[in-house]
Amino acid sequence: MTPTVHSAAATPAAPAVRLSPGAQVLAACRAEGRAALVGYLPVGFPTVQTSIEAMVAMARAGADIIEVGVPYSDPLMDGPVIQRATETALEGGTRVDDVFEAVHAISAAGAAAYVMTYWNLVLRRGVDRFAADLASAGGCGLITPDLIPDEAGEWLAASDAHGLDRVFLVAPSSTPERLAIATGACRGFVYAASTMGVTGTRETVGSAAETVVAGTRGVTDLPVCVGLGVSNRAQAADVARFADGVIVGSALVSALGEGGIPALEALTRELAAGVRESRR
């Protein structure tokens, strides 16, 4: 219940910033001279219980941060693999309430959890109530793929009130002005989309990712994590050369779907080795 952001009038000097568990993990990785591995899985795929076990297993196998996806009926930033997984989750009766159970389990296992959600699900629950529930489950913050800072007034206030990180996206199309607006509103880290497109594995991550990270570093000191398209050890190592974190989603979802938790753990270990190859 302690507010972490103080009014400028009460504390003229800049207030000491209390880092979230996720931000602490990113700082520790930076100190080690390596990128963090951020692993995404949606709640409810293939079932709520298995998805939670899988997220905890992924953390134990070497994912530094867990990105907990909330299934939504209209996932316009997601490619086919995550669409199918979240459809399965919704058909199985997954509810938004289940997300907080997953976050609690991950936090209890000592790992950092961010929730990736489309905005209508937060609005429907009530922005402040969603933030309060996330904070009490031990979550670090929200990643919001269809919310831009321009529309985020209520979330900026709620995330301040509940001490949560807020992760907005930047993209290869972002102008310097948009990069400044997006990163200026972020706390914790910045999510850089590697390509123009939706989630899914790709043959190559492409040079746009390096360019967008460089542009982002020009306007912020926050860690920059790169998502979209990374599926294997070599790609993870490649992105880890220039990013603070490598975000993997569809490939992990496919592994879980095809080979269960053992396959998920094996891929996680591969990716964790990848982010350690490019020591800086």
Binding site: S73, L76, Q83, N120, L121, P145, I148, D150, L169, V198
Partner: protein, 400 residues
């Protein structure tokens, strides 16, 4: 109302991925400049006159009006436009803007196929590559429109995600747009989506109300007591309403699809059965469950079968400037048949919802009333549905 943020009261805005913001900003800038550029305005006007067939006429329908409590009823005939509906007004405007932005490819979503056909038509006329996303369920229901789009040179992609209907086609079009935004303009078909679409699409359809207001004054010498239009996304309704917003004596009445009845749960009546939310880029009214998951809509009319509605309608609803009523499938089909038999005009089933509204409102207001109804489209595409609804053909006559 903030023009800057594209808000209508609390509704509208831009709830989309950051990746699309530069394209939306470019579109907003280009359409604002075009709106005051004589060259653009002149070219669009020329196409309206020589291609679409504008101005569309108005038709007084006394034999139909006898079933509307004796009120005078005047139809605005958007059904007579090239491609058979009001959709062409918006599509020509956006296709010209796409060329101005140097884009070579247009994409569109479509439900029944009317907007897809209109977009394919404009793309053929202006030499643009065209891809239309259509739910797989709808491609089966509207196979002739799929063939029509292919004849016009468009690629039609059947969307097999989610409910395989209009909302999923919008999702897929947005995914395409994010990936191809450098070369591609998304010709959104109604007054929804992120800013500037709701405002821009309304402005391209505003000509409906501008013409109709002058035509009614010319014919009758006074303003109508009520203007009625069906509301799916709500583009024909915003088009005819907008010129009347500052005429306080004119009631604006939107007719939503009540499907099998609002209490059945199978409907598309966002203002009766929906709540505030965000869908496809705009804050508006949405059919959704307690978690915020979209609930699938239902209507006999594919063009009204959409779980969300344009944000400006949400604003007009909350301020009380416009009223919204639900018309059931059955009421709409009765009005459809009545106009066919009394006036020799086969209306679109979408527009038949507005006709059913006129029957009810006319009875409420009585014989002194003057009603203006937007006949937004013609019913050729609906003959199959109507034949089945009314049992007009024997199995042997080839109706599947």
């Amino acid at each position: 109302m903030s023009e800057q943020l594209g808000r209508f009261g609390e509704f509208g805005g831009r709830y989309v991925p950051e990746a699309l913001i530069p394209a939306l900003e470019q579109l907003d800038e280009v359409r604002r400049k075009a709106a005051v550029d004589p060259e653009f305005v002149g070219e669009l006007d020329r196409l309206h006159r020589t291609y679409t067939g504008r101005p569309s006429i108005i038709t007084e329908v006394p034999r139909f009006a006898a079933h509307c409590g004796g009120a005078r009823v005047i139809l605005k005939r958007e059904d007579l436009n090239h491609t058979g509906s009001h959709k062409i007004n918006n599509v020509l405007g956006q296709a010209l803007l796409a060329k101005r932005m140097g884009k070579t490819r247009v994409i569109a979503e479509t439900g029944a196929g009317q907007h897809g056909v209109a977009t394919a038509t404009a793309a053929a006329l202006l030499g643009l590559e065209c891809v239309v996303y259509m739910g797989a369920v709808d491609t089966r229901r509207q196979a002739l429109n799929v063939a029509r789009m292919r004849l016009l040179g468009a690629e039609v992609v059947a969307v097999t995600n989610g409910s395989q209907t209009l909302k999923d086609a919008v999702n897929e079009a947005l995914r395409d747009w994010v990936a191809n935004v450098d070369s591609t303009h998304y010709v959104l078909g109604t007054v929804t989506g992120p800013h500037p679409f709701p405002e821009m699409v309304r402005d391209f359809h505003r000509i409906i109300g501008v013409e109709a207001r002058a035509q009614v004054l010319d014919l009758v010498g006074r303003l109508p007591d009520a203007v009625l239009a069906c509301v799916g996304g709500g583009s024909n309704a915003m088009g005819i309403f907008h010129r009347f917003l500052l005429d306080p004596s004119v009631r604006l009445i939107g007719l939503e699809a009540g499907g099998e009845g609002v209490h059945s749960g199978r409907h598309a009546a966002r203002f009766s059965g929906g709540t505030r939310g965000v869908l496809h880029g705009a804050a508006t009214y949405v059919l959704q469950d307690d978690d915020g998951q979209t609930i699938e809509s239902h209507s006999v009319s594919a063009g009204l079968d959409y779980p969300s509605v344009g944000p400006e309608h949400a604003h007009l609803f909350e301020t009380g400037r416009a009223e919204y009523r639900a018309v059931t499938d059955d009421e709409a089909m009765q009005a459809f048949r009545l106009l066919c038999r009394t006036e020799g005009i086969i209306p679109a089933i979408e527009s038949s919802h507005a006709l059913a509204g006129a029957m009810a409102v006319g009875r409420e207001l009585g014989p002194e009333a003057l009603l203006l109804v937007s006949l937004s489209g013609r019913g050729d595409k609906d003959v199959h549905t109507a034949a089945r609804w009314f049992g007009l053909l024997d199995d042997a006559e080839g109706m599947p």
